[in-house]
Symmetry: C2
Subunit: 390 residues, 2 copies
């Protein structure tokens, strides 16, 4: 049954290899002062920076640059952005990059005109901005597929001094006003990052799928998206410049986490919670941490939802039903997931990500406790899952 929910997603998406031609149109209607946020400078090497700057200059915008947004954007960096935004009366924040840059830009957008302690209010206390909050508009030019940040209100920020990494999901006022989704831009991402993005996408879908036991349209949409990600990933890992595969991966990643497939049902974000804790200890790539623990995690919860896992095996992995008990079928689905992780070259374990036995207790302690979809993990179970993932 679909429960009660509100769906609102006003982000305007310009998709395709010709989409950069729409940037000029997308930035119309915003004021003249643009804060251009980006990461380590790869966009300067691959030409995306030049593409974007040419459009901004043509439109006569005053561009203030804010480079150096790191993979796990810090509160300190956010406060730097707030200062720059205030000093330059910024009218639009244009994020050029992947999820980190967009997450970061949303944080600056919310904090720029907020007089209180933004970290405490929005991330720690998870409050909503007030009705009359002046939130700066954010636009995005996406260069990496995976996080879904281009079409949602999510913003994960790390408070380095106190080692806290917290995600806040803002409402539609903070979602990007527009995003340019050019699959060719994702060709510039290193192979390993492409694979991590693919698994991140798959994990977003699974974490919304493995919860609830009724017949919900959201689950059917999730199955369609998973089938698409699997089919395209198999092509992309062999031929990373296959436009068809990369365009499907990019589009699937956007819809995997823009609220659609989770509407009206419960969800299970424990794989992300464990993955975040691993990253905090090892700085391992986010998508890889998810891959490293997923198989052990799902084997643990499978016994609480054999029917759903059997459905996953049959529909998503096309495993023949004949001659198998429901439990055998369910297990075969997880086997197929494990095989696929190997096939695409994602992390099959967490040892390869730098996790050692002696830090497992610390990771388990740092894992945020959520109720889960089918089963609420105890501390001991988290430790077990981590050990089994070594």
């Amino acid at each position: 049954m679909l429960g009660n929910f509100i769906y609102a997603n006003p982000t305007k998406l310009y998709f395709g290899e010709d989409s950069k031609a729409h940037l000029a149109e997308a930035i119309k209607g915003f004021g003249n002062n643009v804060l251009l946020t980006y990461g380590g400078g790869s966009i300067k090497r691959n030409g995306i920076y030049d593409d974007v700057m040419a459009v901004l200059k043509d439109a006569g915008k005053n561009v203030v640059e804010l480079p150096g947004v790191m993979p796990n954007p810090t509160l300190e960096k956010v406060m730097e952005g707030v200062k720059v935004a205030r000093e330059n009366n910024i009218d639009l924040i244009l994020a050029v990059g992947g999820g980190s840059t967009i997450d970061y830009s949303k944080a600056v957008a919310v904090a720029a005109n907020y007089e209180g302690d933004a970290w405490q209010t929005f991330w720690v206390e998870q409050q909503e901005p007030s009705v009359d909050a002046k939130i700066l508009p954010v636009g995005a030019v996406l260069t990496m597929a995976g996080t879904g940040s281009e079409m949602n209100g999510g913003s994960v920020i790390t408070n380095e001094p106190i080692k806290m990494k917290i995600g806040k999901v803002f409402d539609e006022r903070v979602m990007p006003k527009f995003a340019i989704l050019n699959p060719r831009y994702t060709f510039t991402v290193p192979y390993n990052q492409m694979v991590a993005g693919i698994f991140d996408t798959m994990s977003h879908i699974m974490e919304q799928y493995f919860s609830g036991d009724d017949d919900s349209t959201s689950d059917y949409l999730a199955e369609g998206l998973m089938r698409s990600v699997i089919a395209s990933s198999k092509v992309a890992v062999k031929d990373p410049e296959n436009y068809e595969a990369r365009s499907n991966i990019m589009w699937s990643a956007t819809w995997a986490l823009n609220t659609l497939i989770g509407e009206g049902k419960t969800q299970d974000w424990m794989v992300h919670m464990i993955g975040h804790a691993i990253s905090a200890f090892t700085h391992a790539t986010h998508g890889m941490t998810l891959a490293g623990v997923s198989v052990a995690y799902y084997r643990h919860v499978m016994k609480y939802a054999v029917k759903r896992f059997a459905r996953f095996a049959k529909v998503v992995w096309e495993i023949p039903v004949e001659g198998k008990t429901e439990e055998e079928l369910a297990n075969a689905g997880i086997d197929a997931l494990a095989e696929w992780i190997k096939e695409i070259g994602a992390a099959s374990n967490i040892s390869s990500l730098g996790v050692t036995s002696d830090i497992i207790e610390g990771i388990a302690n740092a894992t945020i406790d959520l109720p889960g979809g089918y089963h609420h993990l105890s501390h001991e179970e988290i430790v077990e899952i981590l050990k089994e993932s070594l």
Copy 2:
């Protein structure tokens, strides 16, 4: 491969049996003068009118009522609405009903502040409203699932004197600003209309699915939606007050035609074109005309896309692949569609809708010529399909 496209869909949806509680919030921010559009008055009998009026009165709105919107809204009725909207300085059009009422309200919204000949400009010439066009905002309280009008820019209007029924798909400026989607409201629809709405939804999906031969995320999403519609319809026809089934049907109908599953690919709207022509001659219910011709239509085009129809059989209908040629599998999928049409009680032929041999030539002449997805039908083929559908 996903082609280039722009996705923009700002409609805010309040979904669920508690969604009526959100109407007060939804109408905030719009001016005081509300034009309330609705159909034949069934909303007065089932209590929906009272629900809505109570909220409008509480909010202190001036309500101008415009009842009598007919199933195929006419241009004449649109011009009546334009006059009322102008005379009353309407700030918001609130459509309470199904697709016809919402389509109608969009037409009034576009025409109200347009000085030229709206029919000629927007429907006949299919022009876009100018950049500075003053389009009235539309909100919707949906009472019937099927058309998808609650989250798209579509508006089908009939010019009675010249017997022309034309659909115009406007951009996001004309999409409803909000829609209240309460599955319990759809319980008030007669059984036959529920079935017609289910088939209309399925047809929207199939008409976007049966086109193109590459591996596109849009097709995977379409398969998920079809599987959901089929599963829920089988429950709903036996137990029309099953909330789970009706809520899934309502949500699937919205996503079947809000542009998502057609993005980046070609489409085939010939079943709708033939269906519209049948309605023009017989006044048969829209969804039933689609059901009446679909089996014959798809048998005609199947030979041009055996692979896609085999995929449809396997994924959507779960027909075992073993021991069948690709063509046998493809045919089995269409057989399954025909069986399902019978099972849910949709029209298995067009004789039951009032079509007789002597009007077939006229219907074929009135069918708008589109290129189709896999094959461009000749006039003779349209006649054949109609004869086979008798």
